[in-house]
């Protein structure tokens, strides 16, 4: 697919810091949840955002939607800067960008039948007459594979897969240009995950939306995304196509992530990272990954690596060693927290 000249969504150097109190006797510490994230999403393209707890991927998703205001950096949607949340301009943009959450049960109102909930965005944005709205609801339900009689059911009367389809239908009813999915399949059974992944791929091919797929599951990300960005402690550490990342990961963290994927027939010795994922309130100096990195060197402790294309093949990676600037060392393994 070709990207249109203006990317649908572009974010430049986003940063977001939260102030948090430690315990009851609070000294406030600043948690830099997102620390300089730059990315673009084009029409018809899915960007997968991968990382573990505390990496900032959900915060990034919210910043991109304008639901949270970035402390630094800028988000542009279709060329224009993202209006501040709560303003009429922002509210009007909602029909062009939608969010699918992780837990369908809590994303839906328990008391209302799903047909009404799917129609609600149309009502909010005053789109069409009542008859046109109903026709649109029926169409979108068919698109996601729900039967017409499901419209009268309440969420608890549906299965997990059907609920997530209802959430997707509601997100698609206004024909948005951008769909952000934050861990949309983690709470579902394996066979239902497959159904929803197939659905998302098919919908994107048919409707040409841009999509941001946030997940910790690299396999699912490969299935759905055209490009992948790996996040660690608020920064993007590597970017590339799914096969690039999965078969030839450049960043040591991506390498560990890929080798941790359990799958049958794995014979190679996996890379097991030491220690726990770090606390964003307690960032290590220099490269945030260096305490757990099997190949960290002295410069890694003091200089933060930038995300840039590496000389050998242009792969964007934020790592001094991967860039060939320094040779691998063993500093990281000595500094277990």
């Amino acid at each position: 697919m070709t990207a249109s000249p203006t990317p649908l969504l572009s974010a430049q150097d986003l940063a977001r810091t939260y102030g948090v109190r430690r315990g009851i006797v609070g000294r406030a510490t600043n948690v830099r949840a997102v620390d300089g994230v730059t990315l673009t999403i084009s029409r018809g393209e899915t960007l997968g955002l991968v990382g573990e707890s505390g990496c900032g991927k959900s915060t990034t998703a919210r910043l991109l939607l304008g639901m949270d205001r970035a402390d630094e950096g800028q988000v542009r949607f279709d060329g224009a800067p993202m209006p501040r949340s709560g303003t009429p301009g922002w509210a009007a943009l909602r029909k062009r960008m939608q969010l699918v959450f992780q837990d369908p049960m809590s994303a839906l109102d328990r008391r209302l039948p799903i047909g009404l909930q799917i129609r609600e965005p149309l009502e909010i944005h005053h789109m069409g007459t009542r008859a046109e709205q109903n026709a649109r609801v029926a169409a979108v339900m068919a698109e996601v594979g729900l039967q017409p009689h499901h419209a009268d059911r309440h969420p608890h009367a549906l299965s997990g897969g059907q609920r997530q389809r209802a959430v997707i239908a509601r997100a698609l009813v206004t024909q948005p240009d951008l769909l952000v999915c934050d861990e949309p399949i983690s709470a579902l059974d394996v066979s239902i995950q497959a159904q929803v992944m197939n659905l998302l791929v098919e919908l994107q091919e048919r409707l040409g939306m841009g999509m941001l797929f946030v997940s910790h599951d690299l396999r699912a990300v490969r299935q759905i995304s055209h490009r992948v960005a790996v996040m660690y402690l608020g920064r993007i550490v590597e970017e590339g196509t799914p096969d690039d990342i999965l078969h030839a990961p450049a960043h040591p963290y991506s390498q560990a992530l890929v080798s941790a994927i359990p799958h049958p027939g794995k014979i190679a010795r996996r890379i097991v990272l030491q220690g726990d994922p770090p606390n964003p309130a307690d960032r290590p100096a220099g490269c945030a990954f260096h305490p757990r990195c099997p190949m960290a060197s002295m410069p890694c402790r003091t200089q933060t690596p930038q995300l840039k294309p590496r000389p050998s093949d242009g792969r964007r990676v934020a790592c001094h060693v991967a860039q060939g600037e320094i040779s691998p060392g063993h500093v990281g393994q000595l500094e277990l927290s």
């Binding site: 948090v20 430690r22 315990g23 009851i24 006797v25 707890s53 505390g54 726990d276 994922p277 770090p278 606390n279 964003p280 309130a281």
Partner: protein, 311 residues
Amino acid sequence: MLHYLGTRLLRATVSVVMVVTFVFIVLRMSGDPAIVIMGADAPPEAVDAFRTAWGLDQPIWVQYISFFKAILGGDLGQSMRDGRDAVAVVLERVPSTLALTVPAFMLNVGIGIPAGVYAALHRNTAVDRIVMVMAVTGFAMPSFILAMLLVLVFSVNLGWLPSAGQDSWFNAILPIATMGFGGAALLARFTRSAMLEVLGQSYIRTASAKGLSWSAVVWRHALQNAAIPTVTIIGFMLGGLVAGAVVVESVFSWPGVGRLLVVSVSNRDLAVVQTIVLMIALTMVTANLVVDILYGLLDPKMQSQTRPARA
């Protein structure tokens, strides 16, 4: 921990000041104490003289300031009824009230908690249902109705127990029973739900899976966790020890602090009412503080200062 206590103390002081101010204002707005005490047909000069003597002719904010100065000096004024120090008047009634509330509290805890725990352990059996029905009844029934029912049965019909006054310790039985039953009912319900909540947690299953006998699981793992929310309720009950018997004392004509409060309010005996209210506020606030401290001791999350690490 010190910072924790410090903030709590500060808030407690503010609460007390607010309560007393509120009472001060309400009492003076609700009727002229001079007229109430002297009587409606007293001559106006006598009423005026009374007012001046008690400083009631000053503007309200002047009264407030002198009131505060007096409190800080330990002087809460004199009872308008008989001129004695309000503090003395109130304090001499405290032992009578304690004679009721302390045994009642012991009944509450001694019956309520075991009943609640037993009901939780035998959920949905006949015993559980019976305990819960009794708990709801005790909780829902206003204390004066229960008091009167008991009087009807035990004093009037059976003639076993006296219904009023403070002649002998027999007189204390019915009032204690009234307060005991109501409080036990509340505690039983609360303890039962705290226990049920704890018993449904994963760590109880872990304890069983470890090979612990069921009684060890209940005693060593469940009870301490269930104690945490239960302590809050007990704390409030402690707060009511000194002046929580207003209705019961009135019904049984028991000469305690509660009854004194009722009488003083209707007589607009400002100093005494203020003293009692201040005392109630202080005991409630102290009880809350004690609960907070107990919480800090029982719940390890309050003790440690570090934030939990992320998964």
